[in-house]
């Protein structure tokens, strides 16, 4: 379990996060939602240790993350940043193999190769195994990077907008893969997700952030309510419950319809 206590981050005098408290339970998929500039990505980067907090404590299974060595932390938590910029000519397989670095430190064992093959098979990337990542589509590249993160075989995965710029099919594929990671492999996934419908239909928990603080947190049914989301985003919205799941309609606003 990852627990965030009284976390604050500011750049100079400009606070980005203040007094954030949240818990991310193990084996569950938690979505971070909220308007732009709410501090979702900052919170995720602080948990990933890519940024240093101004104050506050983050613990993983009771251990302060700041006390762990970089190499050890990478065996417990894997992070995938938004738009991983990479202009290297690498094959998908080579990229996924990078995910084994925390374990192998560059010397691959049979176990490492097994993990790479599993990660590639898990996301059905077999046909692209030898394709170069600068020659495949954005969605496929995103899948390849996710496979690298999965091959890292960490208890916890942190994903910053994994659905960014993806078409519907790739987005659904990635969310289903994340669901399987939690349900069948017992991994903990924390993802910043902008599409409220994906967040509502695939998450176990939702942490909604606004203005650098936690606005609401809880199970999907607790957070995804018309009044709650309306307040969060400052929009009128309607939640339609269907057998297949719920649908938040925020596309048209009262009094401003065509």
């Amino acid at each position: 379990m990852i627990k965030v206590t009284a976390l604050a981050k500011s750049y100079g005098n400009r606070p980005i996060l203040s007094d954030v408290r949240a818990e991310f339970s193990s084996g569950h998929l938690t979505s971070l939602i909220g308007p732009n500039g709410a501090g979702k990505s900052t919170l995720l980067m602080l948990i990933a240790r890519l940024l240093a907090p101004t104050s506050g404590i983050i613990t993983i299974d009771g251990t302060d993350i700041a006390s762990l060595a970089v190499g050890d932390y990478a065996k417990r938590v894997a992070t995938l940043r938004q738009r991983p910029d990479c202009n290297m000519r690498l094959s998908v397989e080579e990229l996924v193999t990078f995910g084994r670095f925390p374990h192998s430190r560059g010397r691959l064992t049979a176990e490492d190769r097994g993990a790479v093959n599993e990660a590639i098979a898990f996301l059905s990337l077999e046909p692209l195994r030898n394709a170069l990542i600068d020659e495949i589509s954005g969605g496929q590249r995103q899948m390849a990077f996710l496979a690298m993160t999965i091959a890292q075989e960490t208890q916890c995965l942190l994903l910053d907008e994994p659905l960014n710029n993806l078409d519907m099919k790739h987005a659904v594929q990635i969310m289903q893969a994340l669901r399987t990671l939690c349900d069948e492999l017992g991994r903990t996934v924390i993802a910043v997700i902008h599409d409220i419908n994906f967040a509502a239909n695939y998450s176990d928990h939702i942490v909604a952030m606004k203005d650098g603080a936690v606005h609401a947190a809880g199970s999907v049914s607790e957070v995804v309510t018309e009044s709650g989301l309306g307040e969060l985003y400052g929009l009128d919205l309607e939640i339609v419950e269907r057998q297949q799941g719920c649908l938040c309609n925020y596309f048209t606003q009262k009094g401003k319809t065509r």
Binding site: A48, A74, R81, P84, D85, M88, R89, G106, Q152, L158
Partner: protein
């Protein structure tokens, strides 16, 4: 890679034996010394350029562009100014060499502080900083030059041109030793370099102690640049050419492929330039001019299509 290796071997044999009259007493040992200087210098230029580009995440930055060599020249000019023509005697073969290494490491700290700490700069900014630094330090050097006598200037000029002629066996031995130590120290970072090419964040989340490695590698680069500049002189834009040609020729961008390839390309360039000077231009031009002409043109072309690669 194999092709490059065979090509270099052929060029080397050509360089050492053609027109030597098989004089094993003087000509061939002298040429072998030059060849060794090219190999050690080539390795230093190839490694330092490619590793620097990986750390900087930018394909038109090299230590030379960032002002390392300008600092070296300033140091030499100052030494000549302060100690006069006797500076060669006072410092000896390796006093100067060690001073250069210390200076480079000190300059690395400055570069590290400005470029690799704090918020990530966009691709163009470091280039601008580097070129301005090179210019400013160059102006200081010119200022110092005005204060020295013609005899001292002649000594200084010896430092500021690429040449394999002034290589002394003792210095060569030292350089080889330093390059070997750097290779040994750096070989453990070979796998890490591939990850660092993914950028700071991805490298960190894959368990690479990024800051520590940047410091270590910048230190090693400083030693390499000190070795290459004091052994054969400033190489200016050559590093960019070598690195980018290596990326283009290698099918993979793993450092275990690009690094040796870059070294081979650098050695090959030195050989071709030296052979052209000897056999085509009949000593009417210098190695430095040839290399700077070719690599400067390449740098210009790269800068013009900067958007594509940055």
């Amino acid at each position: 890679m194999l092709v490059a290796l065979v090509g270099i071997a052929a060029l080397s044999i050509f360089f050492v034996f053609v027109g030597s009259g098989l004089d094993f007493a003087y000509i061939i040992p002298r040429r072998l010394t030059k060849l060794a200087a090219m190999i050690v210098g080539g390795i230093a230029v190839g490694l330092s350029s490619i590793v620097f580009q990986t750390i900087a995440g930018n394909r038109i930055l090299t230590p030379a562009v960032m002002g390392y060599e300008a600092v070296y020249l300033l140091l030499q000019a100052l030494l000549v100014l302060i100690l006069g023509t006797s500076s060669l005697m006072v410092l000896g073969d390796y006093g100067n060499f060690l001073a250069s290494i210390l200076m480079m490491v000190a300059y690395s700290l400055v570069i590290h502080h400005w470029l690799f700490k704090g918020p990530q700069l966009d691709a163009g900014q470091p280039l601008l900083v580097g070129l301005v630094l090179t210019m400013v330090i160059g102006t200081f050097t010119q200022f110092v030059q005005l204060r020295i006598s013609p005899g001292e200037f002649a000594i200084f000029q010896g430092f500021s041109l690429i040449s394999f002629d002034r290589v002394e066996p003792v210095q060569l031995l030292w350089s080889t030793g330093f390059v070997a130590v750097v290779c040994l120290a750096g070989s453990r970072s070979l796998a890490v370099l591939d990850l660092m090419a993914l950028g700071r964040d991805q490298a960190l989340s894959l368990g690479v102690d990024y800051q520590r490695h940047v410091r270590l590698l910048l230190g090693l680069i400083a030693v390499l640049v000190a070795v290459s500049t004091s052994l054969i002189g400033p190489t200016a834009f050559m590093g960019i050419f070598v690195a980018n040609l290596a990326y283009a020729c290698a099918r993979s961008e793993r450092h275990r492929v690009t690094l040796p390839l870059g070294c081979l390309i650098a050695i090959g360039m030195f050989l071709v330039a030296q052979l052209s000077v000897e056999h085509v231009f009949n000593y009417r031009t210098t190695v430095g001019i040839l290399i700077n002409l070719a690599c400067g043109a390449w740098f210009l072309a790269l800068t013009l299509r900067f958007r594509d690669i940055a």
